[in-house]
Symmetry: C2
Subunit: 419 residues, 2 copies
């Protein structure tokens, strides 16, 4: 099955160059990228009308099923948000809830050109089921301390197969929510598997202070002393790192995953990303969950990754738009371990989006890449293709399930969780 995209502008993200050309997809892989395709006759031809093909965005930090909490706990103090709203609702989860809620979150990802998410949430099999049924690429992250280490190992080995749509990465929720014994057990498994570990870290000042009180060290330093980052990994949020912690992340090639919208809305803080960038750290971008953000929108995040650094560094020239686009695509893919979904190239996964350059916000054509970061919105996403399948085109979903049913089910569940 060959799909040929004709009459396209193409941004492979291997460089900042944009050229006019063609791209062919065979089954789930990119088969040709160049000026003119003259191989096997395609089964399907899509005229891009000079719109832009580029790699899909990678949401490097997500709690997809948390769409239930969207706009049901806004404008509350942090403690009330978490303990009076989010936690009590999560306690009421029944079998199938996460499966159903994840599907709604995936639909939203498709509207934002997000082709993969690093999904930190409970009940991994339900996330995998939802993702596979809709054709979405989820990288699931171990998160519950209640799960035996043997289960983590089993999932790691069974889910991480070549060419599988879903994969699995080791993690803990956070230092402040995890017993030291558990942390050590996860580290032991990571060492055995030579695998990276990810976690929420440096999100709030209170978290850092608490860790220093508990362990006499800031979180990254404490975990590093246990060998946590020996095989890489990274942190979600990373708003409050000491210079020493930046160095530890650098030494272990760990990823900074920043979530600017969520951090603003929960009043956690603004990550010093320009400092991290100058130190040579690799930065990826996540939306966090819809309970705190509240949207799952890579365009909003990209804008803020750049604009917040400009204002906090009092310098509009820092954090160049193209660097941010790289964070949202290439760096995200690396952080998620999706090395075959990073750029548009022959043999890579066909995780491709089309940006509508006829949208007024993309005009006039001065600098397409910067337009996407500084002026883009979900409204500019013309197509989202994952693993060779067009799942969203011209504001319509092409998934194998009834979209209205997904929405109804999510509302039913949310209603139950709230009562």
């Amino acid at each position: 099955m060959i799909t040929l995209f004709k009459n396209a502008r193409i941004l492979t993200m291997k460089s900042s160059e944009i050229f006019s050309g063609e791209l062919a997809v065979k089954d789930n892989k990119i088969f040709y990228v160049g000026e003119h395709y003259d191989g096997e006759v395609p089964d399907h031809v899509i005229d891009c009308e000079q719109n832009l093909l580029m790699p899909g965005f990678k949401n490097a930090h997500a709690h997809t099923a948390m769409v239930f909490a969207r706009s049901c706990a806004d404008d509350l103090p942090l403690h009330d948000w978490l303990y009076k709203t989010i936690f009590p609702m999560e306690e009421k989860f029944e079998d199938g809830d996460i499966y159903n809620l994840t599907k709604l979150g995936i639909l939203e990802y498709l509207t934002s050109g997000i082709t993969a998410a690093f999904d930190m949430y409970f009940r991994v099999p339900e996330i995998v089921k939802a993702s596979e049924e809709l054709g979405f690429r989820s990288v699931c992250l171990a998160t519950s301390s209640a799960e035996p280490i043997s289960l983590l190992k089993e999932r790691f080995e069974t889910l991480n197969k070549p060419d599988a749509l879903c994969s699995y990465v080791l993690g803990i929720h956070a230092e402040y929510t995890t017993e030291e014994e558990r942390i050590k057990d996860v580290i032991k498994l990571a060492h055995e598997l030579k695998a990276p570990i990810f976690l929420h870290i440096g999100e709030t000042e209170a978290e850092v202070k608490g860790c220093v009180e508990r362990h006499g060290k800031t979180p990254v330093k404490y975990l590093d002393s246990l060998g946590f980052f020996d095989y890489g990994g990274g942190g979600f949020h990373c708003n409050f790192f000491t210079d020493e912690e930046v160095e530890i992340f650098k030494k272990h090639n760990c990823y900074i995953v920043t979530c600017p919208c969520s951090n603003l809305k929960l009043a956690s803080g603004i990550a010093p990303l320009y400092k991290y960038q100058k130190a040579g750290l690799t930065i990826a971008i996540g939306t966090d969950g819809a309970g705190s953000n509240n949207s799952l929108d890579m365009f909003k995040e990209m804008y803020l990754v750049s604009a917040l650094q400009k204002v906090t560094n009092h310098d509009p020239s820092v954090m160049d738009g193209f660097d941010v686009l790289k964070m949202a695509t290439v760096n995200g893919a690396k952080a998620l371990g999706l090395n075959d979904s990073d750029v548009l190239d022959v043999g890579k996964n066909a995780d491709i989006i089309m940006i509508d350059l006829k949208n007024p916000a993309m005009q006039p054509i001065n600098n397409i890449a910067k337009n996407i970061v500084y002026s883009g919105s979900k409204d500019c996403v013309k197509m989202t293709m994952i693993n060779g399948k067009v799942l969203y085109y011209n504001h319509e979903f092409f998934v194998d399930q009834d979209v209205n049913e997904i929405i109804e089910k999510a509302n039913e569940i949310t209603k139950r969780l709230k009562t």
Copy 2:
């Protein structure tokens, strides 16, 4: 000509209540809002499918034609942005350029549910022509010191007619760019006409410092000493106001027009809106021009109006989402002098938008108003109606001109301005 909206959720913005009902438009006015319409037979019925009708957004600070500068001067220091890119391009304007560029900006407004803009730019007749041809509501603002005061008076009297689509407000560009003699002349005219005056003010720290050096007073205080705000008016940006200046604005019922995206991207600062809100000032929201923002997107602005106050005040409970929605609609209408376009009510202008509640970002339905502010994007705008005419529906434009021609023309002009 009667258009009936059936099966709608309706948020009039007279209160935060949302009810299921019907709304009828007769010519350019709202004719009925309530549970069930049983008046004259409508010419046209629109089934809203339980989507939301609400007043359109009012863009309270814009330089619409500046779309030419979108993404052609990003990531530059402020001085280079203004003096090496923007000003030299503006010097090359020819007759018709602003007319053509304004049309592209208007198309973008329609995609964001913006039904009126407070447009501070040169060549008012070209802005009026573009607006009237496309059916958009522009409130033009005197901006050029080169125009004789008699012309300002003439425009004020000829443009401000009942039921006209475009109107005219007195203004100066800014204190630091305007000779004192000119400022005094505009004030004299404002006193004669009993009219408000608007200007850029308190945008950067350098501007405030310069004013203190020139006049021994901060900008608001200096201008107030000349009688600038005697008939109201307001300021664009307002990032750096002293407590005394807040009091002056309060005394004269002046409007704060905040432009958070632009202020971040140019590294100008973050307005202390929560302080202004507590002081009882009325806040409206603007996008500024596409040269600095770079998008003309009320959703991005609304999010930031709230989220930036939460993070800078270290309190996620400040700047409630509904208050922000009011700023973007009702307060904006007041600032623009559009008292007939503020809410959905009988006799008001039919400046109405429909929000697509089936969009995944609007689901589940927990709190619709907060969803719009915290999770909305242009992608959620299903319809934009101005003055009784549907100009945008389901991502398609219904304007009386060829959209592709508008885009081509804007590119041609931009190319010339750049060379």
